[in-house]
Symmetry: C5
Subunit: 154 residues, 5 copies
């Protein structure tokens, strides 16, 4: 039985962690979910590390929703750098799922985007753990999570 | 008996550490506070690490007030990156509470904001240590510390 | 028998990993290729580290195609920093092959550039592993991968 | 007998290290000074680390004078990040004393600023080592090093 | 017998490594040179680390020539950060000698600048290893490598 960690925040305006968990459960079996909610994205690196170190996870999905201002961009950069460090310290993947508030035109699109990106990255996490051959088959295919795929250049 | 570290600075123009400690004490019991004051925010990562390594803290609240200029933004970025490193080295949370001088319109609002953000993050630290289920219940709810909550998108 | 790792992404719009592998095979023998495909460039540092730590690679080529927006530039910076960390943790080279979407005028040039840069860096990886004297002979020669060489200033 | 390290550069246009040492000696006793001069600010992190690791220092003051151009700002950022890493690796404080050339209106003010900031941070280092209660008493007081204190917001 | 490592690139348009070695040899004796050429500046951190870890160097000079575009500035920043990490991991100096293409007015000045900066930093490396008292004597003197010294403010 594998364990998939889901780290999310109270700052996000959409229940991205819930969407990821729902999608994981509709994708396959053979895993348990461990959830860890923190205040903001800068708390996610430690949440991911503790899920891996202390709660036995084999992979983590880290979800957050940075704001639209410059300071939020900087926070996201710090969090992303931390999430990469966690991976290099544990040799396990942490799939970052960030939706920036200014990626969407309005609240409705933001909610749609956050939900869809969370779900598509949940599938990526599942694939990395259970069927990596699906990723290799899609190498260079221009896949995107959330908005439409860009596609391969033929 | 748990220990909560409070790291703050002589640079800040508001006693954010004092506010955090007061709020912690009004929130619950079962913990001791360890305080460590340093000159500026770039000294906070080590203060946090020593609180965790040498004074037995289970969590740290790191409070500071970066100035409004570009150089101050860079300092804050360096300090934030260091605070994330501390967490990954110790597997303990360090809750960053930074109030940028240019977030407020005037000194009065700045003092109000620093006090309120310090208190709301003190509660977050308490929750992470004693009642993490409260955070999970608020996942995706658009919570903010200081200014009003953004709220969940329904 | 040496092992050369090839880490690439499903985000890229060109099969850069495939081009690198083809070029390696036409350059020489004495090595096996290990491929590891991940969703995006921020997943490449761990892919590279696992290729080195868990699949016995002596060197890794990490290929990706960051988008043209500011957020993509930040992602590329985070990934690049992570790739340098991997090298310092393993004492093995990871040759980064990134093609930014805005380096090319159109899709046709982008595909050409991605293919050519992947191939020229595959040769660099081969040289680092099997014939480092070729690199030393070209020190200060203004070599480029993809577009034309700048050349030495005479 | 404690040891205080002083790391400085040949790049700076003012003898900031000398000023720091003079101030330390006029502030108290019970310590020895170890000095380590390097070419530029990017060499300061290692100088600080060696002062701590190899010459037995209990704290280090790292002084430098970055130039006014963008490249100099980037160098200062890299040096500052390195100085924070040193602290986390050694659990000892490294007090950064940087004076940016464009903080001052002319050479005369630059020399004054560099001297005064070096001296005020020398006192901070002394306090961290010998009388930390002085720092805690000044938490949130808006202290500055060099230019006038901003003061607490009452 | 000491060992001085020289790490350089095929990307640079001037043989900066060659200039550094020539200058070292005209400055003194008592050392052997180890050279390691890599494709670009982002490969320099590992080259420096391997020179220190695997080829017994006591110090390394890392030379490169970043381009004039924003992406090149970012690469240089990543490489510089890596070079600082190498120093903190090995407790040995790595003297960075970067010449940005846009520092010079034309190719002729660029070649002159690269040569002179490489030579002046080769002397710095020699001094750090064999006569550190020369650096301390020049603390705060406003020395520069390449263009004219700024000089001390009197």
């Amino acid at each position: 039985m594998k364990r998939i960690g889901v780290a999310d925040t109270t700052f996000a305006r959409v229940d991205m962690g819930g969407a990821a968990i729902e999608e994981l459960r509709s994708t396959g079996t053979g895993f348990k979910v461990e959830r860890y909610t923190v205040p903001g994205i800068k708390d996610l690196p430690l949440a991911a590390k503790r899920l891996l170190d202390e709660r036995g996870c084999d992979i983590v999905i880290a979800l957050g929703m940075p704001g639209a201002q410059q300071i939020d961009k900087t926070c996201a950069h710090e969090a992303s750098s931390g999430l990469i460090s966690v991976q290099l310290m544990t040799n396990r993947h942490v799939i970052e799922v960030f939706v920036h508030e200014d990626e969407a035109e309005d609240e409705k699109e933001l909610a749609w985007l956050a939900d869809r990106r969370a779900r598509e990255h949940a599938t990526n996490a599942y694939d990395l753990l259970f069927r990596p051959e699906r990723l290799e088959a899609n190498a260079g295919k221009g896949l995107r999570q959330g908005f439409d795929d860009a596609g391969a250049i033929l």
